[in-house]
């Protein structure tokens, strides 16, 4: 079985009925899809299959021969975040982070599909995703901001090697 993940082709050795979630995490070492409920109920394992958001815990590898998968790792980089990643950062839409990769990928697909900034349609698009920190308000704010173009593009959020942190931390030693 062949699988392209984030543009890289892999020849799989997992048994054919292995759900994609475990192929990604255990065979390929790609750990942004999280193993939450593992029965399709929480959305933390959502990845993009041919650009469409799907629960990776429900998809047997044999059903995906030749498919193109995108995980959070394939969406952007610290140097060049995707618009939805920038929006999540700027709007404080991540708390513990467990639901974040699934939320970001579902939101990315929503934006790619021409989704607008109306809260109701964003709620519909993200309805299968559970945030146990209950950070829904800020998550929907972020998607709405990204849909409305109300973000800074490609903001860097991590200092590069040799650089100072971009923000001063109160009370930190000079």
């Amino acid at each position: 079985m062949k699988l392209a993940v984030n543009g890289v082709e892999h020849e799989l050795s997992s048994p054919p009925l292995t759900p994609l979630l475990y192929v990604l995490r255990e065979e390929l070492g790609i750990t942004s899809p999280k193993a939450g409920c593992q029965q399709g109920g929480c959305g933390s394992c959502t990845v993009l299959v041919g650009g469409e958001p799907r629960r990776s815990c429900l998809l047997p590898a044999a059903a995906l021969d030749g498919a193109e998968i995108t995980t959070l790792e394939g969406l952007g980089s610290p140097e060049a975040l995707s618009p939805i990643q920038t929006a999540f950062h700027e709007r404080y839409a991540a708390q513990c982070g467990f639901c974040t990769s699934g939320m970001v990928l579902a939101a990315h697909a929503y934006l790619e599909g021409g989704g607008g900034s109306e809260r109701e349609s964003i709620q519909d698009a993200l309805a299968g995703h559970i945030c146990r920190c209950t950070g829904y308000v800020k998550i929907i704010d972020a998607v709405s901001a990204a849909a409305g173009g109300d973000i800074t593009s490609n903001q860097r959020w991590l200092p590069q090697p040799g650089e100072e942190a971009p923000v001063e931390v109160p009370g930190a030693p000079a």
């Binding site: 009925l17 399709g40 959305g43 799907r54 629960r55 579902a106």
Partner: protein, 269 residues
């Protein structure tokens, strides 16, 4: 060989037919075969170790998809996604839209929902009620060859059958009502579908009861009077009593849903 064996893994033979004919041949009489359509029920059952199939028939490449209209008749391939049904007329469209969330609906199938067994802690298969209300016909393969049954007959004897498609005549009107779900990942505790057929008769069905969805003949006999139909409905049902809702609660909310669905039907006529 009509069917390609993809590989063996974890002791299970995986068959991946590439057409309807190959799927029928691979299914045979169904003995020892587990059908994997969308996977939303079967895959977690395997993940959690409840299901250890000998042979899995994966239908993802077998075709069997699409909604086709021929005159007044609509035919839905077994592998059509539930999401692809949401724009259809009531009761099927709104019933499909009430299943899970977008991602699950895009993966779950019409045939899988029709065949969904009662879950370990909740009923499944809301679309059964819509298909009952529409007087749908189910074309299936298995022991004894291909056959076409009414939904009632099919649900009474669905084990060992491979669903190929589901078809029905466009209803004159439809109605749908359900108990609201706390979250999209919950199954519906109770779902009522009603259909006014072209011959003027009214069919009323309910999912979320003890077992597959059922018609409510006592309510149907009084369909012109929603209050009387609602009062008569409970005598036709054995209510499920599970983690989603008690039988007590379901018994008291069924009449409300019947009234809602019949009122919607009357407004639509």
């Amino acid at each position: 060989m009509a069917t390609a064996t993809v590989a063996r893994g974890a002791g299970t033979e995986v068959l991946s037919p590439a057409s309807e004919d190959e799927a029928i041949a691979a299914f045979g009489d169904g003995a020892g075969v587990t059908i994997l359509a969308g996977g939303t029920i079967v895959v977690p059952e395997m993940t959690y170790g409840y299901l250890k199939p000998e042979r899995v028939l994966m239908l993802g490449s077998a075709g069997l998809t699409g909604v086709a209209r021929n005159g007044s008749r609509t035919t839905i391939g077994a592998m059509t996604s539930v999401q692809d049904l949401v724009e259809l007329a009531a009761p099927l469209g709104p019933c499909a839209a009430n299943v899970a969330d977008r991602e699950i609906r895009a993966q779950a199938t019409a045939g899988g929902n029709l065949c969904a067994p009662v879950g370990r802690d909740a009923p499944r298969g809301d679309l059964q009620a819509a298909f009952l209300a529409l007087d749908a016909q189910v074309r299936s393969a298995g022991a004894g060859g291909e056959r076409t049954d009414s939904v009632e007959d099919f649900l009474a004897d669905k084990d060992g059958r491979l669903v190929l498609d589901i078809s029905f005549e466009e209803p004159a009107a439809g109605g749908f009502a359900r108990l609201d779900r706390p979250h999209t990942h919950d199954y519906s505790a109770l779902t009522v579908c009603v259909g006014r057929l072209a011959d003027g008769s009214t069919r009323i069905a309910v999912a979320g009861v003890d077992g597959p969805a059922v018609r409510l003949p006592s309510a149907e006999a009084k369909a012109d009077d929603p209050a009387a139909a609602a009062e008569a409905a409970a005598q036709d049902v054995t209510f499920a009593d599970d983690a989603l809702a008690s039988a007590w609660y379901r018994e008291r909310t069924l009449p409300v849903l019947i009234r809602q669905a019949l009122s919607e039907l009357q407004e639509a006529v």
